[in-house]
Symmetry: C2
Subunit: 186 residues, 2 copies
């Protein structure tokens, strides 16, 4: 039985979860699969697209957004859900951020929230708002995960965790501001 693209991505996700992005090398993925590194390139174009596939796996865990829900609840709910999914996979915020920018991801995590905002303002502004929320969440979780990383490496003497209140405050502020600007415009 030969290898499969999904198995390659599976192995990559496992390494990410267990050892972090720094240990996610092509050679390590190959080792886990009992194969030589060169073999991976039959199933995957390069490391960059493998990482995009990993990011897609993470984003696939997102709950679907109810477009007809109350906007404030829909937006804050999505932000919290995104943070939950990211915190479930080590170093995933940096990974997802670069993967999304690479244009190699299948998933578009913005679609749902942009649709919610688009019910109250022009599509372009809705997109801006959705991306702002995405950036805030990615930036926030990236800091959480990087602090955890450096704390584990011993180069930092800060106790990670306990960012729930800070995150909630940040998201509440941005969502309130976004919705306030829409009602002004419509």
């Amino acid at each position: 039985m030969s290898l499969d693209r999904d198995e390659v991505v599976d192995a990559a996700v496992r390494i990410l979860d267990d050892y972090g992005l720094g240990d996610l090398s092509m050679r390590r993925v190959a080792d886990v699969l009992g194969v030589k590194a060169g073999a991976l390139y039959w199933h995957v174009a390069n490391k960059q697209s493998l990482l995009a596939a990993v990011a897609d796996r993470v984003l696939a865990e997102l709950a679907v957004v109810d477009v007809d829900a109350e906007p404030h609840q829909a937006l804050t709910g999505w932000a919290h859900d995104l943070r939950r999914v990211l915190l479930a996979h080590r170093d995933s915020a940096d990974l997802v951020a670069t993967a999304l920018a690479s244009g190699l991801c299948q998933h578009d995590p913005l679609a749902g929230v942009a649709a919610v905002l688009a019910r109250h303002e022009p599509a372009e502004r809705a997109d801006w708002g959705a991306r702002a929320l995405l950036h805030l969440v990615l930036g926030h979780v990236a800091e959480e995960q990087n602090v955890a990383l450096f704390a584990q490496l011993g180069s930092l003497d800060v106790v990670p965790g306990g960012q729930d209140a800070a995150f909630t405050h940040a998201v509440t502020a941005l969502v309130s501001g976004l919705l306030a600007l829409t009602t002004l415009k419509e």
Copy 2:
């Protein structure tokens, strides 16, 4: 005349600006300085702390925040200034984000904005708000720079640039939301 720590950082900044973070290796820095890679470790503990020093150079270009200015103007002004500084150095958003999390930076870019907010709410909430704004800016500029990176690598057919309106909208929304929440509390 022997090497100097500042010269090492200078060379690193130059490589970052001209070739990007992917080409910023210890060996490359050494080459630019006409020295062998091992020599750098006399002036710098490791690559991580060199990157932190580079991040400090970038952050040093920030204008000082007028704590007594009108809050909305002070916060949005700082956000735009931070974006200006980041866009002046290739790939700097990712660099600064991880360097700040590493705890090896001298600079604390939050101090000014946190002080502004602290005039209207408790210190902890002011810190949350300042960090939210920092994360939004870092996330936004990171996307801009990563898209530019992948576009240059040919793996993306999107034209970079033209994000001023999106950024302004995002910052305005967050700052409005943050200040609205403070007045509710005080």
